[in-house]
Amino acid sequence: MANFNIDSTKNNTFDAIVIGSGISGGWAAKEFTEKGLKTLVLERGKSVEHIKDYPTTNLQPWELKHKGQAINDLRIKNPIAAKCYNYKEDSEHFFTKDDEQPYIQENRFDWIRSYQTGGKSLLWARQTQRMGDLDFQGPARDGFAVDWPIRYKDLAPWYSHVEKFAGISGEYDGLDVLPDGEFLKSLGLNCTEEHFKEVVAKKYGGSRHVIYARCAHITENKDIFTQQGRMLCQQRDLCRRGCPFGGYFSSNASTIPWAQKTGNLTLKNDAVVHSVIYDDTQEKATGVLVIDAITKETTEYFAPVIFVNGSAFNSNMILLNSKSKRFPNGLGNDNGLLGKYIAFHNYKVSISAEFDGNLDKTTEGRRPTSAYVPRFRNVHKQETDFLRGYAAGFSASRKIIQNKNGVGEELKENLLNPTYGNWRVGSHMMGETIPKEKSQLSLDATKTDKYGIPQLRINLDYDENDLKMVDDYVEQFTEMFEAAGFTNIKSNDNNRAPGNDIHEMGGVRMGKDPKTSLLDKWNRLHTCKNVYVTDGACMTSTATQNPSLTYMALTARAVDHAIKASKKG
């Protein structure tokens, strides 16, 4: 028996453990395995292999039984998941069903989850804007949260590192508010977007910008993509199904198969992490306790370094649930701040209008991105009665009017002979929200999920700053739209609950001081230095940029640090 135990410990010991196979976990796996470390990736969801497990990817529209609409019974059973814009007949199998993991909403919070190999990297909107110093300096300048322990120069080479591998389509805009990156060619703005860009540039003297939204799509052939088995984006605009060409970046198409090729990756699916194991005598984390989602058996895995990439709130949960004599309130939680200062992106409102110019022009085909308006409020100094600001998406398309009048041959004739209408333009806001102590996650004292893991309590809501920002966005965009000659301007408070943005962040924030933060500048727990957190949980502030690219860069940087630290030993 003794030998058996030694063997099983040996078999369950790796050089590194990564919890989660999503966009950041995939990067940790790639970086570790490439450097020769035997790496275990624990994924709580099912296996999704690139191409093989994209069941709807090659279906023609008419082959979908409901022509794309999700089934009502599934919507009723999954009111949270079904609220996601991407939840459709051809993608619902990539959404975690609500009853898999119940949680307690102290305020309404739509927690969108996607448990499978690759996680939400299969479903993301693929927007990849870098954060810059105007973002990293935000908390210190404006006196909220804590100062980020890093600046743009610390992350810039790592942004480049991940962008070159992922493939980012973009334009070199040369803006102070949004640093440029390593770009493949742009798919272009259409003429009405160009018109808006020119009007805005002129009206605001170059202080507001409309640019091509950088996105993780391959638009130029490069050896590095061929090596990954990925090809040019075919402009199907069916990304949510999983892309058989690997045209957009996902863990499934890119980092996971790359890690597998090294021979150093062990990927375990259906592996629900219960907690990180802390050894009081060795004074460090030694491994991870895992529950098999199917058999409910528990197994311990061991490694000298552990990366927590379970997605922002799950990473919080795992640490809160990792209790030891040394850390009775959760791993690394000496200051009681674990789970606190969470935040999100404010997508509460959108705005639409029409444009009756460019009537001799239209677009053809499908483009997997749009235009983007970087933050223009409070950029260099405080100018408004709210803190920070918002970025915005913007897009224009030529409206096609389908006449549905009539009965019989007249109706058929009408349907098959549509006409052009005005251009339709639209924008949605992406507001920075302020992390506050009362915005927090905790574990419920009594309620558990089907694995016996305490349920998460989420306490997060819009605040006054958010609502002021919503008003300002509507006011400013109305002004910008009017200047561009857009008419029929309508703002739409879509009543989206926090969480529906799928940009929840924080709870295990980075900072300089162990008294006021959980992670150091290398994303290590201050008080348990062989545990790293590099997903959304680490974010000190949210900025306005879609955050995935930043998680990828932070992860690659942290792995590099972990490997160097282990060599120094």
Partner: protein, 185 residues
């Protein structure tokens, strides 16, 4: 007797129910399987007649040859709320009675031209109550969606490309007024 029961009795299926495309009750004509709704041949035949009138056969195939009538039932069955389903079936029954009241004939027994006029009138008429209007508008809306998203329309009339290819997006195209607009292009 409801056909569901008949089918159960002959022991062919344990769940769902089979739909026949018309009054023909032969086993060969089985078309679709519904999950929730209990409907009879009369209801099915009526929807079929309405779809056939909305989108008749002609030079370009109509709704029936593209099986749009089945799509209407599938969408009501799978993608509608319970309230919508009830209102739909209720409206269908009231429509049938209203047509009988107005023309002394059942809709299915009207001539093609009279069917079309009846639909045109009832879709906007005050004589039709809201259940009937909802039923007709819902049927028309789903029928149009099923028709426009059919393989025939999406390959022969307004071709859809599943894989448009790299470089296919044209951000700024000057419209050729003589070119037919392809909503899937």
């Amino acid at each position: 007797m409801k056909r569901r029961k008949v089918l159960k009795n002959i022991g062919l299926f344990t769940s769902g129910m089979l739909l026949f495309p018309s009054c023909d009750f032969s086993d060969e004509k089985v078309s679709i399987l519904l999950n929730k709704l209990y409907i009879d041949a009369k209801q099915e035949f009526l929807v079929e007649a309405i779809v056939g009138t909305l989108l008749p056969e002609g030079e370009i195939p109509g709704g029936l040859s593209l099986k749009v009538q089945n799509f209407v039932w599938v969408m009501i069955d799978d993608c509608s709320t319970k309230e919508t389903q009830e209102s739909f079936l209720n409206g269908l029954a009231k429509f049938d009675m209203k047509v009988l009241e107005l023309s002394k004939k059942y809709f299915v027994n009207l001539k093609e031209n009279d069917r079309a006029n009846m639909l045109k009138n009832l879709i906007k008429s005050r004589q039709a109550n809201s259940d009937i209007q909802n039923f007709l508008n819902t049927t028309k809306r789903i029928a149009i969606s099923g028709y426009m998203n059919s393989e025939y329309i999406m390959t022969q009339q307004m071709p859809y490309k599943l894989v448009p290819g790299a470089g296919s997006y044209v951000p700024c195209k000057t419209i050729n007024p003589t070119e037919k607009i392809n909503i899937n292009g």
